[in-house]
Point group: C2
Chain length 526, copies 2
């Protein structure tokens, strides 16, 4: 029986134009549950319901929105076993530690942080100019569409992850589109979200779910007049098509598209701890089969007497390390094809193919190398993201060449530099720091980029094409909420008509407001 | 002799593909100074120089950037006579009060506020998570292109106005494109800016100026890899073309495109002070010949016994008020054509044509009216912005119809509501407030929208197409600066490599930073 979609608070039969099932990546078998590909009429209904719920949401208190997020977090926590089992079945990601001990706490914690931010409200930056009686703040923007990626079924899930939490915390309804690789996991979340909605009294279309739609319907949805903004994490071609459709219609879209996350190992660090870095690198590339937005896809190492042994050490770790399970049926082919392309362009394949289980979605850990000169000659090809357990080492002839390589990079989420602890690399660091900083959203020292803490200071974003707007982060609260907010100004508006955050009295005496040029938690005129 | 462009700190002969002269709108005569239309090679040189200067700018202190803005403001102030005379000649805007007493103080004040924000730096929102040693802030984004509009030669000028001040305050170099209606005014500013640059030691390509370029070069510039962001204020077709080019290339562009700025007069206000409101309305529509982004282009009044006399009063004021000078040779034709289009669609022209001076760019003040029903039947046509001294009154049958009209509006910069002082309109206000608020960037009570204070609480922005991103304002400091900033995160980066704003010690003990969840002006660990 085909699963139902969640529209306007009701689980209902989809108006399906086709159907699909997910796979068990560990066996390659198709799973038995059948999900609808919604036709436009489902999306149309969801959009209209979202608009109606948005009107109601605007009258609902911050406390109620926070209560929903809290309650939803608790429901996830108490149903975590069912969720991680389903996610494991659909994604092959290990139950533990990955799903149960990393993603569940991250997801629950993120929703709780969003609850706190929704209630605390200082992210709205209430600003009052009492002389002119002009007041402004950031506030809800309207219905938000969220397209989740395949690689974090929980913490980046369309109805459970960072975009969802941020959009709801700002006071917006969300239309989630499940990723087709884990529809069952998404359904479980939607059931709990809907329960939390009902229990806390949010409008019935605050959270809606469809599983899949045609590309055409996707483009139509993100550019529909009823949508205010979209959050998308996924493949570059799909993201670029959605970006174009949305922006041509004047709609906001926040995207996370692709990133090769360059790592630079400076000479002193290479000599002093090359082996340890090689190990970290291999681990960071192959964990979760390299299916992480911040996988180090490029490592730049300067040619000297330690380089060969560094590359050899990395290669051995790739060769010997566990081979993770890939998320989709065509992922292994993608890695193989992309590696062949790099070889055709002049890279050398360092790793050999291993014998792997039949059926399981997987590909041997793959390490390639290329000279700095070759990279520079065809930098576009060599910086194409390979989503999976494959990375490319660039052997740079000199710091000048490293500098040149960096200058040819597109925008990335992260850029790491390993340097000697005794300071002998400091001059080199200074020479490349500015170029690297301008190319990335997060500069990292002496560790791999794969950890992305949910921290108020995190930036999970960066220059295009790593994201669509370098001023915003997709991870980290309350900062990520601002993506789904509009600036609203009230000019000479009578006191009782103002949002409570902009009235003379500070609603709870705790919210930070910029009053007449000074940040304060006090009342106006106090 | 053709005027020179300012590229890489040098006034130099343009590589011109053609040339042009501005007009004196008061006489219709072409002015004698000849300006180049730059070919791509000029733009290309400017882009490369801007990239180089950006690298240098990143090493320059906030104090130096602030000193430049201060010095430039002072130079404008001491050269204001020459500036306002040139601007008056090129735009026909009155020397006084408009140019000398409004725009000059606004321009100078804005640059000084930008200087203060550049130095004070709290707008960068430094955020420190000490447990994870992750730190982030907003910082310079790279070379910014600024396209200024024709209607504010000083305060919104490409090299003197709000976008310029904001982009520089963030630490970015600016490539300014003059508006072809006032190239001489822009040249005077560029001379002073260049002088201030030299005196304060900013990199030589921090401020560059070209006068004009082909549409093709414009599209190429905003999408060039060397550009980080563009600020554009101007016509909707030009803006949309630039938007598409920039965004297809993954580039940021902030636009102010068009707005009809609806004004709603509720029944109680109409009865109690209809005449006064009619007078305010007419004045607001006809001042500066209606060539203001926030001109009230639509007024919605509910049909009752006071409506006829309100409309008549407004009409008389339009009829009797002074007829301002238009900025461009084709502006009068534009108004005539747009009015005819509204009449063809079912509006009634209320004003008659007056005899006006030969030569001067001008058009009779024009007031039209249409029924609510007709508006609803063709809302797209009736909400087309007429840039000039023309407005449309909508006679609404009921509050429900007003509600419907509002729901059909595109995004606008402002929305005003006039309501009775004694509270009898409060129920009606509540019924329309949410719809109006969602359609505009600034909600105004009991006054016309034409005043746009340079206030930290201002929002000169709004939903598309009034702007390109509803989360940002083009006027008001420090908020407007954030448009030209990128979020940068430093993860585990060694203390001495951090920007001073993110080091443990608060650089001057005054900057507000979010440290471990609490806003403070103190040091980390203090």
């Amino acid at each position: 029986m085909q699963q139902k979609v969640l529209i306007n608070g009701q689980w209902q039969a989809a108006n399906a134009e086709s159907e699909f099932s997910a796979f068990n990546p560990m066996t390659g078998e198709q799973l038995s549950e059948v999900y609808p590909v919604s036709s436009w009429s489902d999306i149309d209904k969801a959009l209209s319901a979202a608009v109606e719920s948005f009107v109601q949401l605007q009258k609902i208190s911050r406390e109620t929105v926070a209560a929903f997020l809290e309650r939803y977090a608790s429901l996830i926590d108490s149903n975590k076993n069912a969720i991680v089992e389903m996610a494991n079945l659909e994604t092959g990601l290990p139950l533990s530690p990955r799903l149960a001990d990393v993603e569940i706490p991250r997801t629950v914690g993120q929703l709780r942080q969003a609850a706190q931010a929704a209630q605390e409200a200082s992210w709205t930056q209430p600003t009052i100019d009492s002389a002119n009686n002009i007041r402004s703040l950031l506030t809800a923007i309207g219905p938000v569409a969220v397209f989740g990626p395949n690689n974090f079924p929980l913490a980046f899930g369309s109805i459970s992850g960072g975009d969802f939490a941020a959009a709801i915390a700002a006071g917006n309804p969300v239309i989630a589109k499940a990723h087709p690789s884990h529809p069952g996991t998404t359904r479980l979340f939607a059931e709990l979200a809907q329960k939390a909605c009902e229990e806390t009294g949010l409008p019935q279309a605050t959270v809606q779910l469809v599983y899949a739609m045609s590309n055409e319907s996707g483009l139509k949805m993100v550019s529909d007049p009823r949508i205010a903004a979209t959050g998308f994490t996924g493949s570059r071609p799909a993201g670029l098509a959605l970006k174009k459709a949305a922006e041509d219609a004047g709609k906001l879209i926040y995207l996370e598209l692709s990133s090769v996350n360059p790592v630079i190992v400076l000479s002193g660090a290479l000599e002093q701890r090359g082996n340890a870095i090689a190990e970290e690198f291999a681990l960071s590339c192959t964990m979760a089969a390299g299916q992480l937005c911040t996988k180090p896809g490029l490592l730049i190492v300067q040619e000297n007497e330690s380089t060969d042994s560094f590359v050899q050490a990395a290669c051995e770790k790739f060769q010997q390390g566990p081979v993770g399970t890939l998320l989709s049926p065509n992922a292994a082919d993608h890695i193989a094809a992309a590696s062949s392309e790099l070889v055709a362009a002049g890279a050398t394949l360092l790793t050999s193919t291993r014998e792997l289980e039949d059926g399981r979605f997987c590909h041997s850990n793959t390490l390639l190398e290329v000279s700095g000169k070759s990279f520079i000659a065809d930098s576009k090809t060599f910086q194409t993201e390979i989503f999976g357990n494959a990375s490319l080492i660039i052997r740079s002839e000199s710091l000048e060449q490293t500098q040149k390589i960096l200058s040819l990079l597109e925008g990335n989420l992260t850029g790491c530099v390993y340097s000697a602890e005794d300071g002998i690399d400091d001059t080199d660091y200074d020479l490349i720091a500015a170029t690297l900083t301008n190319k990335v959203g997060r500069v990292i020292n002496d560790k791999m980029p794969t950890g992305v803490a949910v921290s108020p200071a995190m930036n999970h974003g960066g220059p295009f094409p790593s994201s669509g707007h370098p001023g915003f982060t997709a991870v980290g609260l309350p900062a990520a909420i601002k993506r789904f907010a509009a600036l609203k100004c009230f000019d000479n508006v009578r006191q009782h008509r103002l949002p409570d955050l902009l009235q003379d009295k500070n609603p709870d005496g705790k919210i930070w407001r910029l009053i007449d040029g000074a940040w304060t938690q006090g009342d106006l005129g106090a």
